[in-house]
Symmetry: C2
Subunit: 100 residues, 2 copies
Amino acid sequence: MTATALVGLIAGLLTSGAAIPQVLQTYRTKHARDLSMWQLILLTLGMVLWLIYGLSLNDLPLILANTFSIACYAALIAMKLTYARTDSAVSPSPPGRGLG
Amino acid sequence: MTATALVGLIAGLLTSGAAIPQVLQTYRTKHARDLSMWQLILLTLGMVLWLIYGLSLNDLPLILANTFSIACYAALIAMKLTYARTDSAVSPSPPGRGLG
């Protein structure tokens, strides 16, 4: 493996693995007030396209990394929706905040 | 441009652009309680490596997308540190929560 390929591999592990502490924190605290729903939606859509891209190139690292990340961000979206009621009781959204 | 390259391009725009609504929401609400600091740190480190990877391959899309994302996540880390005092007054961190 070249040094460049190794840098890319570590980069991919870091950016994919970064979702893990966020999923753990959100599950532990039961709060997702400060996570932008639009960020979660755009990331998930983008990663679904990365997955399609990886499948069409038959690129296993792209396929595995994006499948893992999609699962993490889908869990975060589900938790954000689940905790929305308690979160809004703690810190009410101003009118017109929308998806936030 | 092939259909596959187009899918990859849109995927990259979505995953890079996803940081924008998070930066805007965090700036507007002045709260970053529910953002995991470890996620922000791992993502930033990973994107610095992606940038190095892009520079060594002289790949302009990788270079531009990661420079933009690093700026967004650096801003989020700065805001999380800045808002930490007011955030902890609103919702105290339990002991041993650490970086969160």
